[in-house]
Each structure stands twice: as C-alpha cells, then as structure tokens.
Symmetry: D2
Subunit: 355 residues, 4 copies
C-alpha cells in the first residue's frame, strides 16, 4: 500500500502556498510509493464528517503556480487543540480534538503531515509532534516575522505590491502637492513598510520597532515644502506602528487616519490623502522569487519526510535549504533591530522614522 | 514673433494628461511659428507673481508619455472667476481675477489657451471664451462622466487598476470563504464600478444609478453559500452608490464600511473585508488605450487652434475626432442608463445590482 | 429535454476567448432549459471518435476570465470542409466531413453552434449555415482585421503588451544610444504596430498599408542623432510590412532582421538591436477592456440563439451590440486607410512611416 | 572646497543603476562637504573634450528610482586602458588613455570614483586602483555571474520578466498543444534560465553548465504527449547553452532556432514556436528587490569613500553589506554548480536538463 501524506494550510493566505503544494505533489510523483492528500480549509478537512479531502496528482496541481492564495483554502481561527465544536444546543464549545485528529489520520492510513503556516501554526505543529504525529513544517508569512528563516515566501510579493502602490501614489501626489499616507501590513513588525519605503522612495517610514511623534513627522514634511511652498511627500506606515510614549494600539486600517487627524490638529495645512492597502497585499500572481522559494521548500519538505526527520521545519538559512527542530521555531518573532542594514540604508537616503 | 499657446491643467490628475501636453508640443514643433508654454498648477502659474510658467520644447516632454499625473501639476480648487486672493490681513477673499488673467496673457503675448479638464473646468472655459479668450478644451476624467465624448482618457487605466484589484481580492477571498467589498471611484456615476465588476467577475455591483437594499445583497450572497456553506463573493461598489429610499450621501471611503455594518446588523455571518482603492486609481503608468486617446486629442487641440475654432472642445465621437462648441458641453453629466448594453450584459452573467 | 449548444473555438488563440465561453455558460444558466457543451480543439472534439466534449456548468467556468488562451483549446488548421482524414495506409487525405459533422450534432441532440473565430473561421460558419446548421459567429482576432466590428477582443491586450515592450526597450535604448527595432504581429495589417508606436512614443512605424524605403528610415534616424551624436530611436514594425517597389514577402520574425541588414549595408553606423515579440502578444491575463467586450459578445451570442437569428455574427458597431448576416462578414479585411485618424495623429507627433 | 566623487557606469545597462546613483547623491547630501558628478556614457564623459559631466543634486535624481537603464548612459566597449582614439586620418587607434584620465580627474578636483559595472569593468577598476586612483566598485549584472556577491541588482528584475514571459507562453501553448521555446539571457551561465524555468513551471531547462542532447529533450517532450496525443511543453534555454560533445558556440538569439531545427530533423512532429526575449530583459521598471539592493550598495559605496577604503568593491554577503578588495573580485565567474540547491529543486519537480 502507498504511503500517504496530508497537506494542511493554516493561517492567512499567502502568495506561494500553491507552489509549495505543487512541489510536494511533483516531487512525490518521482517516487513510486507515495500519495498526497490535501485537507480542505486547514485542519477542518480531516476533522469534519464526512472528510473534506482532495487526492492530489500532477494534473490537479497543473497551472496553480501562478495563482495566489491556496486552492485547498485555509483558516486562521480553528486550532485543533482548542477547536470550536458545535453542541447539541447549537452553542459552540472550544475543545481539544487532537485525539480525534490522530484517530482520523490512522483511519485514512496517513502516516505524516506537511503543515504550511505561520508562527501560531507551528506552535500547533510542535504540540502535535509531541503527541507523536509525524509532522514537518513549512514557514509561511507575508510579514517576514519568522526569525528562523532568512526568507519566507509571500513577503517579496507583498513588498512588490506595496511598492507599486507607492509608485502610483507618487504620480498623483506630485500633481497636487499632496501628502500621501499609505498603510501597509506587517502585524507587529515593520518589514513590509521598511522595504516599500526604500523601494518607493518615501520620505517618512513609520514602523512598530521605532515609536514616532507627530512633531518629527511635521518637521520632515515641512522641510519638503520649505523652498517654494510646493512639493509632495509620501509616508509609508506599518499597520502596527505606534506613537511614542503612548499605549495606543490601533486595529489594522486605523493608523493612517489617526496620523491625518493629528496632523490637522497641529495645523499642518497641506492636502493629505490616505490609502489602506489591506488585502490587496495578499492577492494576485506570486512573484518569481516567491514561487522559487516555495518550490524549494516544498521539495525539501517531502524529502524531509523521506528521511523521517519529523518534528522539524524546512527553512532557508545562509543560502542553504535545511531543517531545524520545531521547538526552536516557536515564540520567536522577527522584529527589525534598529542596527539593521536597511534602517541604516533608509536613514542614509534621508528617510525619517519620526523618532 | 512666434505665436504662443498656454496649456492649463485643471481638476483631479488623470493618467494621460502628460500625453496630451506632449502631443501638443510635438505637433507644434512641426510648424515653424509656435511656442508652447505650460502654466504650473492650473491657472496659478499665469496668475501668480512672479509667473510660474515653463517653456516646452520636444526635449522637455521626452519620456513623459509613460508617466501618470501631470508634470505641470494641477488643482481642483482655484477657479479664476472665484479665486482665493490673500488680503493684507492674511485672510482669503474669493475674487474674480479673470481681467487680470486676460491682462497677463496679453503681457506674455499668449494668443490662446488649451485647457485640459473635467466638467467643472469646462464651465470656466466657456465663461472665459465668452469674455473673448481664445480657448480650446480637452476633456479629462477618470470617471467617464462627460457625456459629450465617447471616451475620456484615464478611464480605461482606472478600470484596469480596479479590475486588477478585484483579481487580487478573488484569490484571497477564495482561500478564506470571505466576502470582499471593493470601493472604487466614479463620483456620481457607476462607470468604473460597472466595468470592473464585469471584467473582474464580481457577484454584486452597486452604482449610484441603481439604488440598492441590503436585503437584496444578502439574498445574492446567501445563494453563493447555499450549497455547502463554502464559497466566496465579491462586491464592487461605486463611491457614490446609495441605499434605496434613503437620502444618505456618504463621503468617498465610507460606503464600503456602511455596507459591512449593515450586513452585520442583519446577522450576515460570513467574514467580510473592505478595500478602498482611492487614489491608486489615478496613479501609475497610463494604459496604451489612454495614451493613444490623449495623443489624438492633443494633436487635434493644436490643429483646432490652427483653424481658429475657438470656444470648442475636441472630442471623440462615433469613431471620429471632432469639435463641439463649449456651450454644448457644460452641465451634461454622463449617467448610466439602466437600458445600457453593459447593464444588460452584467445581468446576463448573473451580477446583482441589489435592486 | 434540454436544448444543447456547442461552443467551438477556431483559429489562433486570443485573450478573451475564455470570457466568451464563460458568458455563454452563465447566461444560459439564467434560463431553465439549456445545456452548453464545449468541443475540444476546434471541430476535432465533435468529429473525433470517441467525441472529445466537455459539458460546461458555472463551476467549470469559474476563474477562467483571468486566463489567456482558451481552456477548450483551438486549432487553425482543420477545416471540416477540407479535413485531414487518416487513411488505412496512414496517409492523410483532405475530405469534406461536414455531413458527418451534421450527423454527429444530431446524434448528440445539439441544436446550434456558437463559433468563436477569425476571418477564415467565419467562412466555414457561413458554409455550414448554408447547409442548414444553426450557427452564430463571434468575431475573434488580436489583429483587428475584421472590418465588420468596431472592436475585436484580444486586440487591446496585444497592443498593451506591445506597448509595454516598447517602454522596456526605451530605457535600454536610451542607456546605450541604440536603435531598437520591435517586430509585432498583425498579419497583413498594421493595427498593432500603429497603436504601439503612438502609445510607446516610437520614432518610426512600418506597416503593410504604407510601403517604406530604407533611405527614408535612415533620414529619420539621422535626424535624431544630428545634434550631438547622441540619442536613441525606436522602430516598431508590423510582421507584414514591406519594402516599397519590391515583392518581398517575409515570414513572421524576419522583417526586423532584414531592416537591420539593409541599414548596415547602407553604412548606418549606430548600434541596432532587434526584438521579435511573437507569441508573447497572444498570452497572459486579458485586459479589462477585452474581458468586457468578450463578455458582451458571449451574452449576445446566447441571446441570438434564443431569438433564432441563426447565420449571423454578433458584433459591436457604433457603440451597440448587434448582429449581421454571415455573408456580409466574409472576405472583408480591415486594412488601415491612409486617411485614418490614427495615421494623422502619428504624423502629427512626428512619427515617420518610411514613405 | 568640496570633495568631489565621479560616478561612472560601465557595461550593459541594468535595472537598478539609477537607484545606485540616487542613493550616492542622497547619502552625500547628508554630509556638508561633498559633490557628486556623473560621467556621461561610461568613461567617455571624463575623457572627451569638452567634458560631458553632470553635477548631481537631490533634484536631479528625483523620480529616477522607478526608471530602468541609467540616465547617465553607459557603454560596454570603451576601456580607458585600450581606448578608441580617432587619429588625424580618421582611423581609430586603441590606446591607453589612463594617464589622461588621471590628469582630468585632478583638473576637476575629483578625488575618487564610484564605478558601477560587471566583471570586465572591475578589472579596469582594479588596474586604475593600482595606478593610484581612489576607486570603489559596485557590482552590476543581470546575469548573476559575479561570484563574490550573493545578489547583484537587476537579476531579480530579469528573472521576473522572463517568468512573466513563460506565464504568457503557457496560455498560448496550452491552447494549441504546442512546444514553446523561450531563449533568455545569461551569457555563460544559466542563472536566469534556471530561475525562470522553476518559477514558470517549465518542462525542460537548458543551461551552459549542463550540456544537453536533442534525444533527451525529445524523450521528455514525448512523455508529455504520451497519454492522449495532447499536451504542451515549455523549454527555457539560456543563450549560452550548448550541445553535449560539440564545440558549437552560437551567438545570442540563435540557440532556440537551432533546437527547433534539430527537433524537426529528428521528426519530432508537434508544433514548435520560439521566442527570443532579448533586450526586454534589461528594460522597464526595476523590481522592489533590485531597487532596495541597489540603494543599499549606493549608500555603502559612499560610506566606503568616507572611510577611505579605496580599491574595494561593496557587496552583499551572508546578509551583510561589506567590502572586499578588488583583486579578489576579478576573474571569478559565478557558474552554477550541479550540486546547487536549485538544480536539485528543479530535478525534484521533474524538470529535465536534457542530460
């Protein structure tokens, strides 16, 4: 009988997820003895009754490398250790269903799992691994906030989309002497904002790692207008950026507005427009960079299973594809050090961090 | 002495404005006796002291055809018939400065104006024309709300950007079974929304011309989820769309939010995300379609001046480049008739208008 | 029993074909009594044994609007009136198989055909129509060489791709003071070349409708270098362009080379590079413009069958969707008149046609 | 008096060159005592009489980060150690003009040079350095063939363009059951081809590092058609690829044709189309990745001059920005090892190298 691997997608969708799945399937096709099964919508596919699974052959992954998102779907809410189970009275009770999960894997003769996910997902992987599940993790985040791998696929696609947005805003800002504020993703980190600010030639970059003041922003903006009252300015702000000395934590989509409001409070008298990029950053055709990285990780994940190196994550480190134990992955968040090359580069071309 | 033409940009910026300017300059270069001068920032350039003008030769327009916005800048606030003049006490008084404008034109030996603008701008053109200024209008709007011309440059670029946004949102919506609401521009019309909805394959399209109800939207969305509880849906909403039977007029950027709020009020229990496209629709590299249209109009505008057909606007009508008198242009807003081909096409592929 | 429509794709592939198919299927889904069947690979699907057909429901057309080409495949070689039939000795004999085709349609209870194709394909439609087949044509060509419709889908996508190629070549030409020659498609017409030359800001545009001489090209190029020995130049040449006074008819891909060779023969001493754009012009994600046009035509084609207006083609004429009899379509090739707006516009901005 | 730095661009143009220049200028603007001068067209600007130089301030580099190529122009032919000097009889004599170069630098009070170039250029840098010129190199190549730096800007932009070309060809190949051959750049290496083949999902990848046979290609292609006679295939071939056991070295643009000819010779009976991507790979808007990398290197190059670390090149190695002596750079060509990750990844998803 063939050996079966289950692929599970967790967390927010990310350009390149399909390329990982495709790579696993194509790599497995070179061996004679393996079957790949996709779980629909995270762990739901293997936990629901009836199962929602998809047997994957080369035909089923044909053409998906150019598609964003994941054709197996994903969710970032349902953790099998704390799973929403509908009770007889229709209420929801959060329950550990991992015993059921392990039973279902056995029932289907699935001997291992490849789990594509972010920080939270790999905590689940680690816990499942401790319960004896043969699991291999693949890192995924558009936010670049996994410290353990040099690159995570999806990030460059998000940076490119954010940069193209800055490019577009520059032409319109320039035509009207405006200040344009672009809010980008990144959760608690400023990686996307920092990259897009340098690549797009922004004037101000606001990131969670460097708290800012409205006064310093005004100082920078006024210097742009000082010569003849003309000029324009671009601010790129990470959704997690915060004001210096305040505990204000705003939801995604609100920080750009707050900055505008405070600029007006301080009688900053130039036109301001905000753009919140939102889910546009997750979508669309993945960049070549991310497709290649995702393909490398997918091939490596399958080979990690061949070598029975379970309980690990496949990563890209110092130019090499390798594995690290899952316990080394968890609870590490990849914040930007203020001594990082790119902070120095940004300051070197005159970008203000509002600090 | 050479004859001088002043180019003035008015209203919001629009992909293709630079192509018009370039075409005027290159067409003029084929004649021996003409000079083209650009007024910086709408009529400000010719009204300010000292003047802010730019003499334009072929070198100064080299490479600008690929650029969005306008390198001469524009503004949509300062009408010479009601112009903000700073008083000695620093207050602003709105004044008719058109006599000064005419004097300045004479002072600079400028014999005619090419005025690139939208609805509001061409009212100014018409009034200036009645005061004896030799003026030729060029229609400009990303909103397609000028009824008198078949196409206005900038519109196809805006539609393409909006459609690519829908494409991106589809992959992420699909991965999470979400409803995604995209708010696009269009002022009081639904042209951009209607085109993007058809091209992007949206499920619901909400436009000012067809008031909608939240119940009809829910009906459509639920039908997408009815089979197995899975599915995703895209709503494209024009910034000027409005609820049936209500007088609610929301500012740009708020209608998508309002729809989300009302869907939740009605206990619609699927994930919803909003994206407000905003100024991204104005920016970036103009599409080939708009560059060609803008080039045609620029050449035609210069030739209209050669033929001394002042007080007219150059338009594209039934496949021909032609002119119409400015008095026929004003106060005509190009709304979508509910009998329009595209409404029928949209309904034909199952798009709901929420009516 | 449901009524069945067969969709057949013929000729070269073209961005927007999938959108037509999708529109027919989605429009049919609004009626209760219709089934749509796709013939795989032109008429082969209905002529082969076993049949190669695909029953199409809304699910099967989900997501295809963004895809170039046609998921039903197409061919531009196998005409049922002169069809390559393999003989018992494995040789090929060209035979009229239309009686068999009609028999097969009856066998499958197919009552009508929607035929998406170009000039050659619609001759077949007309002949089938005369033999009693209920057929409706949909015009398709990236070359814009169907005179009977104002626009054919695919053309704007091809123009946009060609224009982006010019944009790319401009930056590299500029960096090296080079002459760059870009060969584009168009068969016997210069539509793509003319549009890309205007939109891309080319210096020289060579099209079949205006034979050119190498001397006139050199004259134009030298004027670009005359001031300081620096400069660069872009030539856009249609694959069907031809030298004045010669009968030389070159295959696609050879005219750019021939021009380079002749420039060198005449001791034109600047660096020259050629790019042949080839099949890149057919591929990729269709532009919004083409998706909308294709959707309009697909909906109209289905409704034409509802109204039993067989033997016609759906077209876009003077802003309206309508039908014309197939006999009026055939043998009309849409050449560019030298009095066309766009020729005048191109000359107006100084583009040389080498004449 | 201010200290002056000369920026020189050499070799083929490359997306990101403008970003390097911009970064140097903006970084210098933060210091009080520096002036940046651009040499037009490689070393020509400083060697010609009169000089062709451009004093660069922040305004002169505004907006150039989005532009491909280099606004200072470049050439890959004129080496100051072997420079084409026009003689009194108009003949050209190749002469060492470096003494003149050094004299001119002194004449203009230029104390150091930043030299942006590829392999050949840095040999010149090294030789100039040995003659006492204060020079700092910045690596530039779209081909990724500089072994000493992990990344060179321009490469990811070239890979992305090549990948998008594969994406376009896939849709048209698929619609016609064709074989499509795409020839990409890379000189003597296969980096661009290998990346584009993985990212685009090609079937065959031919690179200089792995000589191939036509028989092995046919074997792979036939396996794609073996099931039902349908299918399509994509071949990505590097311009420097070569046949096993042959000394045939073809010029760029000819290898794709040669493969087609040999496939036909062997009676391979499927439709084949070739595309030669050529200079399209150099042009256009640089990717965010390359803009950031180029900006980092530009800032670093200026700071290297501040620190007087002359005779070095700024590089990106193991995630750090650093410098290495120029003598370690030269004569190192970055070929792909057959044990490289990416070769294994490519084989892992079934890509054939024709070996």
């Amino acid at each position: 009988m063939k050996q079966r691997i289950l692929i599970v997608n967790s967390g927010g969708d990310c350009p390149g997820m399909n390329a990982v799945i495709r790579a696993v399937v194509k790599r497995a096709a070179l061996e004679s003895n393996w079957e790949i099964i996709g779980s629909i919508d995270g762990f739901d596919g293997i936990l629901s009754s009836p199962y929602e699974l998809k047997f994957l052959d080369e035909k089923s992954v044909s053409g998906i490398i150019v598609k964003g998102g994941t054709f197996l779907m994903t969710n970032n809410k349902r953790n099998p250790f704390n799973y929403p189970v509908k009770q007889s009275d229709n209420s929801i009770k959060y329950t550990d269903v991992t015993d059921q999960l392990i039973k279902n894997l056995k029932d289907l003769n699935i001997s291992s799992i490849i789990h594509i996910g972010g920080n939270e997902s790999h905590k689940i992987s680690y816990q499942l691994s401790k319960k004896g599940v043969n699991i291999v993790g693949v890192p995924k985040t558009i936010n670049n906030d996994l410290s353990i791998t040099d690159y995570s696929f999806g990030f460059q696609s998000a940076v490119q989309i954010a940069t193209e947005a800055v490019d577009k805003l520059v032409t319109t800002a320039n035509s009207h002497n405006r200040v344009l504020i672009l809010e980008v993703m990144g959760r608690n980190t400023g990686w996307i904002a920092l990259h897009a600010a340098i690549a797009g030639g922004a004037d101000v970059c606001l990131i969670p790692e460097i708290p800012f003041t409205i006064e310093k922003i005004i100082e920078k903006l006024e210097s742009r207008y000082s010569i003849d009252g003309r000029g324009f300015a671009n601010i790129v702000v990470a959704e997690g950026a915060r004001f210096k000395g305040e505990n204000l934590a705003l939801s995604p989509g609100l920080i750009a507005r707050e900055i505008t409001a405070r600029l007006k409070e301080k009688n900053f008298n130039h036109d301001i427009r905000e753009t919140i990029l939102g889910h546009l950053q997750r979508g669309g055709v993945p960049m070549a960079f991310d497709r290649i990285l995702a393909t490398e990780l997918g091939v490596k994940a399958f080979e990690t299973i061949l070598e029975k190196k379970f309980g690990t994550m496949t990563i890209h480190k110092n130019g090499e594809l390798t594995n690290i134990p899952l316990e080394k992955v968890i609870d590490k968040n990849n914040k930007i050090e203020t001594t990082h090359n790119l902070i120095q580069t940004a300051k070197g071309i005159g970008i203000s961090f509002g600090d």
